[in-house]
C-alpha cells in the first residue's frame, strides 16, 4: 500500500520530529511511505479566515500532489478534516473525490486501515489526552461528551496499549484548547485563557504530558506553557506511539 505522507506546514517548519515519528511508525507497520516534495498546506488558515475562494488553488495543489497514492496520511485531525469537509468548493472530479476519501488522520489510519495494536511502544509517564476538536467532532475520532452514543475513543484505544503509559482524566473531558487557527491571533487574550484553563486542568490531573493528534493545538498550548513556565510538557501522539525506552 502506497502512502503519501502529508506533513502540515507548521509541523514541517517547527516540529520535524513529529513528522519523523509519523514516517517511522507508518514504515514500521509495513506501509510504503513517500513524502512528496512540493507539498504545502491544506489551505485551512485561508479558508477559516473567510477566504476559501482564494484557497482553491491551494486545494488543487494538494490534490495534484497526492493523487497518485492509495492513501494520504497526516499527523493531524484538523488538516484531514479540512480536506474531507471543505474541499467541496472545487470541482468534484474523480481525482478530487478519491483524494478526499483516501485522506486519513494518523490515528484513524493506524486503527482502521493498518489495524495495528501498538504493542512495542513504551512511554512510562502520566499523560492527559487533548481531544482536538476537528478530530473529535469533525472526524468523530471519539464519541465526545455532547452526544448520547455508545462511548468510544480511538486515541485512547491506541494509547492504552503503550507500555507504562498512564492515561489521566481531566475534569472537563473535551474542551477546546483555544487555538482555532487564526482565532488564536484574532482573539489572543481569549485564546490564551482557553489554553491556560486546558493546561491547568491537565496539571490538576497530575499529568506530566499533554498529548493530542493535532500539533497545532499543542503548539499553542506549548507557547502558553513556556511563557508561564507551567510544569507540564506537550507531545504529539505519533511521538508516543513511536517511542521506546
Amino acid at each position: 500500500m502506497r502512502v503519501g505522507l502529508f506533513i502540515p506546514c507548521y509541523v514541517n517548519l517547527f516540529y520535524p520530529n513529529v513528522g519523523i515519528a509519523t514516517l517511522e511508525l507508518l514504515e514500521k507497520y509495513g506501509c510504503q511511505v513517500e513524502y512528496p516534495q512540493g507539498q504545502t498546506c491544506c489551505g485551512q488558515p485561508i479558508a477559516n479566515s473567510g477566504y476559501e475562494s482564494k484557497a482553491k488553488d491551494t486545494y488543487l495543489h494538494f490534490v495534484n500532489t497526492f493523487q497518485k497514492y492509495d492513501y494520504i496520511v497526516a499527523p493531524s485531525g484538523s488538516c484531514t478534516y479540512h480536506v474531507k469537509k471543505h474541499y467541496d468548493i472545487i470541482d468534484q472530479d474523480e481525482k478530487v473525490k478519491r483524494v478526499r476519501s483516501q485522506t486519513y488522520d494518523l490515528t484513524d489510519f493506524l486503527l482502521e486501515i493498518v489495524k495495528v495494536d501498538i504493542a512495542d511502544a513504551s512511554f512510562p509517564h502520566k499523560v492527559s489526552l487533548h481531544q482536538s476538536c476537528h478530530g473529535l467532532r469533525g472526524l468523530r475520532t471519539a464519541s465526545g461528551s455532547e452526544r448520547l452514543v455508545t462511548p468510544y475513543n480511538k486515541w485512547e484505544e491506541l494509547l492504552s496499549n503503550v507500555k507504562g503509559l498512564q492515561l489521566v482524566q481531566t475534569a472537563i473531558k473535551d474542551e477546546c484548547c483555544g487555538f482555532g487557527g487564526t482565532f488564536s491571533i484574532e482573539e489572543p487574550e481569549l485564546s490564551v485563557k482557553m489554553g491556560k484553563d486546558k493546561i491547568k486542568d491537565s496539571i490538576n490531573s497530575e499529568a506530566e504530558y499533554i498529548t493530542s493528534g493535532d500539533m497545532s493545538c499543542l503548539m499553542h498550548l506549548d507557547g502558553v506553557i513556556r511563557r508561564n513556565q507551567y510544569p507540564i510538557k506537550v507531545i504529539h501522539i505519533a511521538e508516543i506511539l513511536n517511542s521506546r525506552i
Partner: protein, 456 residues
C-alpha cells in the same frame, strides 16, 4: 471596530477571577444537561433527529402552518396580529395598551421583545413596563440587557444583586442570601402583578393545529401575568411554530434539559382561549425571519428553540460573557442569526469562535452552528469591507501555498526572523501570538530538509 467581540472580550478577560466564576456558573448548565439526559433519555439522539426533521418540515410549510394557526386561534376567540418588523410589533402592542387605557404592564421573559426593544418603546410613551422574571427584573433595574437568553442575570454576583435590592427594594444591607433576596422580589412583584392592566409573554411554541401558545417558566410569572390582568398579549416569532399538539411531547421534553438541565420546567403553560371576561392577543413577528428562510446556508438556524445549550457549552461565551456579543441574542446561535440582520454591525461575530463544534453537537434541533459560522466568514469577506491588509496577506499566502516552492519560501522568510531577531523585536505589540505565548522553537532543520538529508 472598537466595540467588536475581540475588544469587548479582551476587556472582560482582564478580570480573570470573574471570568473563572462566570465560566464555571455557565458550564454548570451544560453539566446538568448531560446528567439529566444521560439518566432519563437514552434515545436522545433519535429525539434530536426527530425534532430537527419536524422543524425542517415546518419551515418548508411555514406559510401553511401560520394560516392554520391563525384560523384556529380566531376560532378560539383570540385576536391574531402580524408584524413585519420590530417597529410594527411595538406599535401593535402599544396600540393595545392604549386602547385598554393601561398604564402598568407586566412582562414575563421574552427574547423577542428584547429583540424588538419593546421596553424603551413603551417607556418613551409613558407606559410602566415591568419585567417579572427575577433575572430580567434584576437587569432591568440595572438598565442592562440580559447577558444570557435563559439566565439573564448570570453575569451578576449575589453581592451585586444585594446592593441593588438594598437600593431599589430596601432590603437589608449586605444580606446576599439568595432566598432572602428572592422573597423580597416576590413581594415586590406580587404588588405589580395584581395592579397591572396588561400582561405580556413571549412564547416557546406555537401549535398550528390547536392555536395554542406554549410558555415555560419555573417562577410562575408568565401565568400570574396572564391570569390577573384582563388583557394578555403573547409576542412570538413566526419560527416558533410546530405543526401538531402531539409534537409537544417531543419538544417540551427536550427544552428544559437542554436549557438548564431540568427534566421539565415547573410550569408548562398552554394558552388556547381568553379567560372569562378577558382578551387574548397573539402578535406573530417576522422581523427578518422570512428573509433568512431564503438563505441556503442559514435557513436552518430558524429551527432554534432558544434553549441556550449552545451558549452553555461554548468556551468563548463562558469566558467573554454575554455582553461581548454586543447584541441581544449572542452566543453561538446569535453569531449566525445576527449577521442576517446587519452584516456590517455583526461581521465580527462569526469570527468569535474557535470553530470547536460543540454547539452543533449539543443543539437539540441539530443546527450545524459551526458550519454556519464558517459559511458566514466567507460571506462576510465577500460582502463587507473587510480589512484590506488581511485580504492581501491571504492572497499572498494562497499564491505561495499553491506552488511547489511555497514551503521552502515561507521557511526562508520565517526562519531567520525567529532565529536571530532579538526577543523585543519578536514580541512586540504587532505580534498577537506573542501576547501570552512563546513562539514555537526553531528546529535545526525542517522536516523537508530532514527528509532530503535522510531519505532521498
Amino acid at each position: 471596530m472598537s466595540n467588536d467581540h475581540a475588544t469587548l472580550g479582551a476587556a472582560y478577560l482582564a478580570d480573570e477571577p470573574r471570568v473563572d466564576w462566570h465560566n464555571k456558573a455557565v458550564f454548570n448548565f451544560r453539566h446538568l444537561r448531560d446528567k439529566v439526559i444521560h439518566a432519563n433519555m437514552p434515545e436522545w439522539e433519535e429525539m434530536r433527529s426527530q425534532a430537527s426533521a419536524i422543524k425542517q418540515h415546518t419551515l418548508e410549510h411555514l406559510d401553511d402552518y401560520l394560516l392554520q394557526f391563525e384560523a384556529k386561534a380566531k376560532e378560539n376567540g383570540v385576536t391574531v396580529h402580524w408584524a413585519s418588523t420590530a417597529e410594527e410589533h411595538n406599535q401593535i402592542v402599544y396600540s393595545l395598551i392604549q386602547k385598554a387605557k393601561a398604564t402598568r404592564v407586566v412582562k414575563s421573559k421574552s427574547m423577542l421583545t428584547e429583540e424588538c426593544q419593546l421596553n424603551p418603546y413603551l417607556e418613551a410613551r409613558g407606559v410602566e413596563i415591568i419585567d417579572t422574571d427575577l433575572g430580567e427584573r434584576i437587569v432591568q433595574m440595572l438598565d442592562q440587557p440580559p447577558s444570557h437568553i435563559v439566565a439573564p442575570a448570570i453575569h451578576l454576583k449575589k453581592e451585586e444583586i444585594s446592593d441593588l435590592f438594598n437600593k431599589e427594594l430596601g432590603t437589608e444591607k449586605n444580606n446576599a442570601d439568595p432566598t432572602y433576596l428572592t422573597r423580597a422580589a416576590r413581594k415586590h412583584l406580587r404588588e405589580k402583578f395584581v395592579s397591572a392592566q396588561v400582561g405580556i409573554t413571549g412564547g416557546n411554541f406555537l401549535v398550528a393545529d390547536s392555536g395554542a401558545v406554549v410558555v415555560v417558566t419555573n417562577e410562575g410569572n408568565a401565568d400570574l401575568g396572564c391570569h390577573i390582568p384582563p388583557i394578555q398579549i403573547h409576542c412570538v416569532g413566526i419560527e416558533k411554530m410546530i405543526p401538531r399538539w402531539q409534537d409537544l411531547g417531543l419538544f417540551v421534553r427536550m427544552l428544559a434539559p437542554s436549557a438548564m438541565g431540568l427534566l421539565i420546567t415547573v410550569y408548562t403553560s398552554h394558552y388556547m382561549k381568553p379567560k372569562a371576561g378577558g382578551e387574548m392577543h397573539i402578535v406573530l413577528v417576522d422581523n427578518g425571519r422570512s428573509d433568512q428562510l431564503g438563505s441556503v446556508h442559514h435557513r436552518n438556524s430558524l429551527k432554534c428553540i432558544r434553549c441556550s445549550a449552545c451558549f452553555n457549552t461554548c468556551p468563548v461565551f463562558r469566558r467573554t460573557g454575554g455582553f461581548s456579543y454586543h447584541t441581544v441574542i449572542g452566543g453561538p446561535i446569535g453569531s449566525i442569526l445576527m449577521p442576517n440582520k446587519d452584516i456590517n454591525e455583526y461581521k465580527d461575530l462569526p469570527f468569535a469562535s474557535s470553530l470547536c463544534g460543540s454547539c452543533s453537537d449539543v443543539c437539540p434541533v441539530k443546527i450545524d452552528i459551526h458550519n454556519q459560522l464558517y459559511k458566514w466568514r466567507q460571506e462576510i469577506n465577500a460582502k463587507t469591507t473587510a480589512s484590506t491588509s488581511k485580504k492581501i496577506m491571504m492572497s499572498f499566502a494562497s499564491k505561495a501555498l499553491a506552488s511547489n516552492q511555497g514551503m521552502s519560501r515561507i521557511n526562508r522568510l520565517i526562519r531567520p526572523m525567529l532565529k536571530s531577531l532579538p526577543r523585543f523585536m519578536i514580541y512586540n505589540r504587532l505580534n498577537a501570538w506573542g501576547k501570552g505565548r512563546e513562539m514555537p522553537p526553531v528546529p535545526i532543520e525542517t522536516f523537508d530538509q530532514w527528509y532530503k538529508n535522510n531519505r532521498s
